[in-house]
């Protein structure tokens, strides 16, 4: 036990000179003491290596943690920035686009309004059995397919009013090509007969909208320009100018 104390004090660096002498003496002459000391000295080195390996491992683990953290911190940050940039750009583009560069459809939706039936006043409770009357009744009831069929069957299918309202029906049911054909007839026939005051002006306007709906932007612009260049007070002149600003 006394000898073990000496070994402990050796490792504590606290041997007195006298004890040191005793220690050296035992080391030279006592094999058991020497073996015990050697064992503990070996152990000291073993623990040192063990600790240093452990520390390296620990540091690697911390580093892995740091890299994971920085990935978690960096990537989302990057992503958040990227995502918000995208979002902002997207929103801005969308806002700017929809405000300053609205789609053709959006413009169309904003400006397209069905013309009131001014040709054949439909009176409730009255039943007039002409096809034309039924056709306008269907138009007012927004039954556009029925109206188109009836307009086709009227006695005077080439009448400007019939063509005009049939065109409106086609616009209303999203068939701008058919509407274009009809409105074109009206605008071309302008020189020949103007049966109803202002009808060709209206036809021009709806033709422009039909081109717009059909995504024929060049023709829309051409058509709108015609409207704008009419002498005042041109029908829908201001609206035409606004749309031109969007499209150009």
């Amino acid at each position: 036990m006394e000898n073990h104390n000496l070994i402990d004090r050796y490792f504590e660096n606290s041997l007195s000179p006298k004890e040191q002498k005793q220690f050296n003496n035992l080391l030279q002459n006592d094999l058991k003491f020497k073996a015990e000391f050697q064992f503990q000295k070996d152990l000291k080195q073993v623990i040192e290596v063990n600790q240093k390996e452990g520390l390296r491992e620990t540091v690697s683990k911390i580093e892995a943690l740091a890299q994971k953290d920085s990935r978690m911190m960096m990537l989302p940050k990057k992503w958040i920035v990227a995502a918000s940039l995208l979002l902002i750009t997207g929103l801005a583009t969308w806002t700017v686009k929809s405000t300053y560069f609205p789609s053709n459809d959006a413009i169309y939706e904003e400006y397209f309004q069905l013309e009131r039936n001014t040709v054949q006043p439909v009176v409730r409770g009255e039943s007039i059995n002409t096809i034309e009357y039924k056709a306008f009744a269907a138009y007012e009831a927004r039954d556009f397919y029925k109206a188109i069929n009836l307009f086709n069957s009227v006695q005077n299918p080439e009448d400007s009013n019939i063509l005009f309202y049939k065109g409106l029906c086609f616009l209303a049911v999203n068939k701008p090509e058919n509407a274009i054909a009809l409105f074109n007839q009206l605008t071309a026939s302008e020189l020949n007969t103007v049966q109803t005051e202002g009808l060709s002006d209206k036809a021009n306007w709806y033709l422009a909208l039909a081109y717009l709906k059909n995504n024929e932007t060049d023709k829309t612009i051409e058509q709108l320009t015609t409207i704008v260049n009419r002498p005042p007070p041109g029908y829908k002149k201001n609206e035409a100018e606004k749309i031109l600003n969007y499209l150009k």
């Binding site: 660096n13 152990l43 000291k44 080195q45 623990i47 240093k52 520390l55 540091v59 920085s70």
Partner: protein, 188 residues
């Protein structure tokens, strides 16, 4: 920074407190990597140097070189790292480093072997059985043989009622280890 803090941290480092090591590591890592970039040292190399600096810091804490450290740990850690950068990469401008180098040269032992001695076969065997010891034994033996605490200090750190109990515990640990080794030789 609080004057108390470095001492406290160094003490915790000495005792092998993992949380402290982790905290120091993480707090200074990115700063060091960014610093290294100034000298065109890529992140991988910077991390290697930084890890060595951390190991050196810990070694020097254990061997008592920084018991009276006047600066804070970060400054010290950076000083080690910078020193390593300038030595490993032979960076030209050392002007801004002079103060740090004084600090380093005063307080640091660069010769610490970061891997420890090469073990003999017997020691390898001993290491294998040391790993099998319980945590209590390991911490006593570690504090005593590696970290250099006296039995009196260990008694305080590990809350032993008296030194005698601690001493007999330490003896039992050594005996357990010796028995494991002897058993191995008895078998083979």
């Amino acid at each position: 920074m609080n004057q108390q803090e470095p001492k406290n941290i160094i003490e915790l480092l000495k005792q092998g407190d993992q949380k402290t090591l982790e905290k120091i590591y993480l707090e200074n890592r990115n700063g060091f990597i960014n610093f290294s970039k100034k000298y065109n040292i890529d992140e991988g190399d910077a991390i290697d140097i930084y890890q060595d600096a951390i190991l050196i810091l810990r070694e020097n804490a254990i061997n008592g070189r920084i018991d009276d450290l006047q600066s804070n740990i970060s400054t010290y850690l950076f000083a080690i790292g910078k020193y390593k950068i300038f030595h490993n990469f032979r960076v030209q401008s050392k002007l801004e480093m002079t103060n740090d180098f004084d600090l380093v040269e005063e307080n640091i032992d660069f010769d610490v072997n970061l891997y420890g001695p090469v073990l003999t076969n017997e020691q390898q065997l001993l290491k294998k059985y040391y790993d099998q010891l319980g945590d209590r034994c390991k911490s006593i033996l570690n504090l005593f043989y590696y970290q250099g605490y006296t039995l009196d200090e260990i008694r305080t750190i590990l809350n032993y009622s008296n030194k005698k109990v601690l001493k007999s515990q330490k003896s039992r640990c050594l005996k357990q280890l010796r028995d494991l080794v002897n058993k191995h030789y008895g078998k083979s």
